[in-house]
């Protein structure tokens, strides 16, 4: 088998860079990593064949710098560039600049990125392709226009960044009173994240589910879909748990959504892997947006279909035709493990001091974690993705619970406790849920387990105090216990038996 490219540059970092490197390596393609000063020791650098520094930690000066990345590609002799997700993956100027520099951009043509990247233009394209839309504004407005539109379609409404994606710049507005402040914050967030402060407005649907269709399209215009992913478990409009298939979608709806997604992709001259996102509410589906890149949650599709989407992306970019879509099998679930406080959902920073990632049957972990990793404020808080696959949904849920219980990350707070509670919770298990599930989630207390935790906490204090007394030191109870002293003491205790 000949490799389509000799050398591929991965213009990203973190777990997705490692993910892409893995497939490239399996395809016999040499890999080039790029890194900012914050990422010199990152796993994506250590797993690549070559690595080029592209600038200081702030993304604008490194992972978002088209000039720096093109210079790195030139310097390293790369023939193709994989953008991953986030950063420059949906930037048509970058895709164009790659083409101008004689590099193959592993993604859709710049025109398709531009069209789908402008959410207003995307809505228009969807309408023309006959894809249903959420009622809302098809033009970007100033505050007085937004106010008039909101009045017309009725509160609550959603404000979204015209250039948006990934949940950034989205605000729900309950009443006219809150519109001005929400618009100001959404604009500032949009300007900062995308360099474009335009926002638009949409009707807020009742108990909506977020269901998306994976599509692949080749250069000859063939388009195929790889089923749906249910991504309704979200907090702050960021996905937390995804599953495939969706428990809400029947075969007829699935076929209709798949057809709509393929029609849209064909209409915009799409190439490569893309995702058409829909909202599903009360039996109807509505076009939300198209993401012109690989999604974070792509592994659940890979496990169900037995396909490597990164390999398909690279093959398509090299001009090869689409393969046959395999029959999907079983049920797959992904949990995104973010560095954040599971109660307040605020980011948590620090160094990873202890790490145990799960394994065993049907478990896949996509991560760029290692002991000693510093979680910095510069980048996304995604630490790892836990993906499980099993014959049916109940078995997949049980497998995810098992995998979460095996996961131990110390040094930063993570969403593992929240994800575990959701996976064990009646609402997710029933399959009847919507994007409000995290907000409705009530922390349940299992007294028996709480008691075990209490025993652990008190035992830790007691053994520390015992050690302190034994060492003859003044008993300053408030003082922290040295783990080394405690370790020594415990060794002694164990030896006594």
């Amino acid at each position: 088998v000949t490799s389509p490219f000799r050398r591929l540059l991965v213009a990203n970092r973190g777990e997705i860079a490692v993910r892409v490197l893995r497939t490239a390596r399996e395809m016999g393609i040499e890999t080039v990593a790029v890194y900012s000063d914050a990422d010199r020791s990152a796993l994506h650098v250590r797993r690549a064949d070559r690595a080029v520094r592209i600038g200081p930690p702030p993304p604008r000066e490194s992972y978002l710098s088209i000039d720096a990345i093109l210079a790195a590609a030139k310097e390293s002799g790369a023939q193709a560039v994989h953008p991953g997700y986030g950063f420059l993956s949906e930037n048509e100027d970058f895709a164009q600049a790659c083409a101008d520099a004689g590099l193959v951009f592993v993604g859709p043509p710049p025109a398709a990125i531009a069209l789908m990247g402008d959410k207003v233009a995307a809505r228009r394209a969807a309408t023309q392709a006959g894809v249903p839309l959420v009622p809302g504004a098809d033009q970007v407005g100033e505050l007085h226009e937004l106010r008039a539109m909101a009045q017309r379609i009725g509160y609550p409404v959603m404000l979204k960044a015209a250039a948006g994606g990934g949940g950034k710049g989205i605000r729900i507005v309950e009443s006219e009173k809150a519109l001005a402040e929400a618009a100001r914050l959404a604009r500032a967030e949009a300007a900062n994240a995308f360099g474009d402060d335009r926002v638009y407005l949409e009707k807020f649907l009742v108990r909506p589910r977020h269901v998306e269709i994976q599509v692949l399209a080749d250069r000859d215009g063939a388009v195929a879909h790889y089923g749906e992913r249910e991504c309704s478990v979200q907090r702050r409009h960021q996905k937390l748990i995804e599953e495939s298939p969706s428990p809400a979608i029947d075969a007829r709806t699935r076929a209709a959504m798949g057809e709509a997604a393929c029609k849209l992709a064909a209409a915009v001259g799409y190439e490569g892997a893309g995702t058409v996102e829909f909202l599903w509410s009360e039996g109807e589906f509505y076009f939300l947006e198209m993401n012109t890149r690989l999604q974070v949650e792509h592994p659940i599709t890979e496990l169900r279909y037995g396909v490597d989407l990164v390999r398909e992306q690279i093959r398509i970019a090299a001009g090869e035709p689409l393969g046959k879509v395999p029959e999907p099998r079983g049920h797959a679930i992904e949990v995104r493990i973010n560095a954040e406080d599971p109660d307040t959902m605020l980011p948590s920073l620090g160094a990873i001091t202890r790490l145990n990632l799960p394994s065993g049957p049907g478990v896949r972990v996509d991560a760029a974690l290692y002991r000693g990793l510093e979680v910095t404020p510069y980048y996304d808080s995604l630490l790892a993705k836990l993906i499980v696959h099993a014959d049916h949904r109940d078995a997949a849920l049980a497998r995810m619970e098992r995998a979460l219980r095996e996961t131990r990350i110390v040094g930063v707070e993570t969403v593992v406790p929240l994800a575990l509670a959701l996976v064990r919770g009646a609402e997710l298990r029933s399959g009847v849920y919507d994007t409000g599930i995290v907000g409705r989630h009530v922390k349940a207390t299992d007294e028996e387990r709480l008691e075990l935790a209490a025993i652990a906490a008190a035992a830790y204090r007691f053994l520390g105090a015992e050690q302190h007394a034994a060492s003859g030191a003044a008993a300053t109870r408030a003082q922290a216990i040295s783990p080394w002293k405690l370790a020594g003491r415990l060794d002694v205790l164990r030896g006594q038996r």
């Binding site: 950034k168 967030e189 202890r354 980048y379 219980r405 709480l450 075990l452 209490a454 035992a459 405690l486």
Partner: protein, 168 residues
């Protein structure tokens, strides 16, 4: 030695002692053998309560502990009998001056208030950016701003004092 462990409405009195060198814990009317084996360097333990297996990570956090146990996380206040007698762990003062602190490290994007200004409960005092999100920092109750400790463009650490507000 007795310990009092609390989390919300939950409270347990736990008494530890050694019987022939072996650790036991008394919890209510039950007395259970306890084996607390350290794994590695000091924060991770394999706990056996009777024959019940628990993998735990225990970290001290102010006046309490954070316990991670098989994917779950518990924040617990722990007092020993001396501390309880001395009333060492007092509840935080209620009402009065609000000291608004940064819940996370970040950069101040914009400051909306100045000293002397009256604010309503829920008023946005400033906007803090962290991990690409703009987060409004709001007043918990109405009052008068007495001090603003930050300016737009400045970076702040977690816990940094941002704004102080006195009851109006």
């Amino acid at each position: 030695m007795k310990y009092y462990v609390r989390s919300g409405d939950f409270e347990r009195e736990l008494e530890f002692e050694r019987r022939d060198g072996r650790l036991v814990v008394r919890c209510g009317d039950r007395t259970l053998p306890l084996d607390f084996a350290m794994i590695g360097d000091g924060a991770a333990f394999s706990m056996l309560v009777g024959d019940r297996v628990c993998d735990v990570i225990v970290e001290r956090n102010g006046g309490g502990c954070v316990v991670q146990m098989q994917g779950e996380r518990y924040r617990l206040a722990v007092e020993d009998e001396h501390e309880r007698a001395a009333g060492a762990v007092r509840p935080a003062a209620l009402g009065g001056r609000q000291s608004i602190t940064a819940a996370m490290p970040g950069a101040v994007v914009e400051v909306m208030v100045e000293p002397g200004q009256q604010v309503e409960a829920g008023a946005t005092l400033l906007v803090l950016e962290a991990m690409k999100m703009q987060n409004p920092v709001q007043a918990q109750a109405a009052g008068r701003v007495v001090a603003v400790h930050v300016a737009a463009g400045k970076s702040v650490a977690a816990g940094a004092l941002l704004v102080e507000i006195e009851p109006a």
